[in-house]
């Protein structure tokens, strides 16, 4: 765990993209083994401008525009990590990480285990992910189910500007490979935050209660956090006081925080944008039920994207779980049954 401490300075609005860029910059400045690589990460600064300015400050050897080949990028990063570097790889969009799955599953996630720890894989794979940005086909996938089903990977998703910085620093500092899912539609979300006083870097694996409540728990992460916060506000009108848990990482999974919340509230809804069937929600609901069965007044429900390929822009609003669907699910939590 790396903790960055600087003098407190006045904060001003910063976007998640800026906080991520700053995290990369600070990590590169602190540790010469950190290398950023990917498609268009150099002069262009990445298609989302997250790597803007890095090539200027650190040169092409530290911030490298690679040939256009995702398996090659990740495979080369594996070799660089074998030699002691800490590559931070950018996959340009969620769906364009698929060509690298062989390297990810067969090597990134297994190299450490294969060699009894001799060859750790301290690399980070940054993936701009999820929908809601009007992107055409292949630009809006939520692919976390694939990553969480792959032992050996950590899977992290920031939902706030502060976490974007803190979690990315923690991911780069980690000796384990981290798939770092950056919710595209939150890139331009802003918060008062100062790059001069960056947030302490959390260890990966702690969920956080974003809103306390007593009637039911919304379990969520990444792009769905704002939806859940809004739903929780709206729910007050219905007389429901909802707790919102932001997982922050799917692996490691913070059973403790989640179960503690659900034991308190007795009801839970898992909310994510990824497809429902075979998505993270099943795992989460199952583990919560295993741990909280006798505290549950109703089955843990799930609000997720439909079990379909991501829709075209003009239809995506019908697919994405919004406030109404969350409230509908809350309403189905069998309120007549208990408390």
């Amino acid at each position: 765990m790396t903790t960055v401490a600087r003098k407190p300075v006045a904060t001003k609005p910063a976007s998640m993209a800026q906080a991520l860029g700053r995290a990369l910059r600070d990590a590169m400045a602190e540790d010469p083994t950190v290398h950023v690589m990917g498609e268009d990460v150099g002069a262009l600064g990445g298609v989302f401008r997250v790597t803007d300015g890095l090539v200027k400050e650190f040169g092409e050897d530290r911030c490298t525009d690679t040939p256009l080949a995702e398996a090659g990028i990740l495979g080369a990063a594996v070799g660089m990590a074998m030699y002691g570097l800490r590559p931070v790889v950018e996959m340009q969009f969620d769906a364009f990480a698929y060509p690298a799955f062989e390297q990810l599953i067969s090597h990134v996630s297994r190299m450490r285990n294969r060699t009894r720890g001799a060859l750790p894989m301290p690399l980070v794979i940054r993936v701009p992910y999820g929908g809601g940005i009007g992107g055409v086909e292949h630009h809006s996938d939520s692919s976390e189910a694939y990553y969480m089903a792959t032992p050996g990977l950590h899977v992290v998703m920031p939902a706030t500007v502060e976490d974007a910085y803190g979690l990315l620093r923690a991911a780069i500092a980690s000796d384990d490979p981290v798939v770092f899912l950056e919710p595209k539609r939150l890139y331009w979300s802003k918060a008062d935050w100062s790059p001069e006083a960056p947030t302490a870097v959390e260890p990966i694996g702690r969920a956080v209660v974003r809103r306390s409540g007593s009637s039911a728990t919304l379990i969520t992460y990444g792009p769905s956090l704002p939806v859940c916060m809004e739903a929780a506000e709206a729910a007050r009108a219905e007389g429901w006081d909802l707790e919102v848990v932001d997982l922050r990482s799917l692996v490691p999974f913070d059973d403790e925080t989640v179960a503690a919340s659900v034991r308190r509230t007795g009801r839970a809804v898992v909310v994510h944008e990824s497809t429902g069937f075979g998505g993270p929600g099943g795992e989460i609901a199952a583990r919560v039920t295993e741990r909280c069965f006798h505290h549950l007044e109703a089955p843990v429900l799930r609000v997720a994207g439909f079990d379909i390929p991501y829709p075209p822009p003009m239809l995506e609003r019908h697919h994405l779980p919004g406030v109404d669907r969350v409230l509908d699910a809350v309403a189905r939590l069998q309120w007549e049954a208990g408390s």
């Binding site: 080949a69 090659g72 439909f306 379909i308």
Partner: protein, 382 residues
Amino acid sequence: MKKSTMTVQELPGAPAYRPTPPPSWKPRTDPAPLLPDTAPYRVLGTDAADRLDAALMRRLYAELVRGRRYNAQATALTKQGRLAVYPSSTGQEACQVAAALVLQERDWLFPSYRDTLAAVVRGLDPVQALTLLRGDWHTGYDPREYRIAPLCTPLATQLPHAVGLAHAARLKGDDVVALALVGDGGTSEGDFHEALNFAAVWKAPVVFLVQNNGFAISVPLAKQTAAPSLAHKAVGYGMPGRLVDGNDAAAVHEVLAAAMERARRGGGPTLVEAVTYRIEAHTNADDATRYRGDAEVEAWRAHDPVQLLERELTQRGILDEDGIREARAAAETMAADLRERMNAEPVLDPTDLFAHVYAQSTPQLKEQEAQLRAELDAEGER
């Protein structure tokens, strides 16, 4: 179904490519016939232009003019919010037009996101071609109707499809050649390699056209390859490589036509590299000033595919003022029609989200569709 015998490519007289101990073992073929041209092949402005087919050239010219106008119109539509995104082929119209016109009706085209113009020249309604980029349904047309595969976004992944389709057609005994388009950046992908290798081993009737426009978004060619040229990649698959001036519509057409003919006659695949340039940014969302200078763009503007052909054809008397005027007028008509029709808001049925996921749908999807219908009904009632 006609019978066909599939044999792996062996040059006549060459020894079987089998493990035989050296010194009797030799490389299978002399690579010389596979090596590409040492400079991009050109027709316009060279003696080869003496042989131009006037009717074909007029057709090429009219389509170039229409294509240029189409690109401008589509770009304008992004500014009006009528397209979600547009990757322009301005500057690459010669490749687009030649690729479409070189096809027989029964042939198949495998385009990428940048190749809507080729699809339009092949006969697709521009509104249908732009459906994807408008944010409407992923594919705006029936690929079988036009023998145009869906516009492909994941780079180079359409190339193995082209090989498979061409191979299937050959097995069925059908006279079909597939033409697959890919960018310079796309040649770095593993799928490029696997597709070309399958094509060569299967001797599939497929032609690969690399539009080398110098950039993969911001990444210049020099960071993409250290090869003598992209056409040289052909050698490693045992297929011929051709290098052509991609802004010379006559040259691109000639080279592609020869490659198509070769494939049609059972000669197997060809890799064609067309050297061209992307005059506009990668898409309307891109800022090209971050990675290239104006001077370079200007140098390429001086080597403009429309002008190159116009100059040659007028000099040779194949085209006159009337012809030019006509071509421009037709282009304007197309643009006006496109503008107008793209202004109409498309009407999508949200339950289409579930209609085509499976041939045999699942109980789960049926439930979800019912949920969405209920939501829509409730919305309607409000």
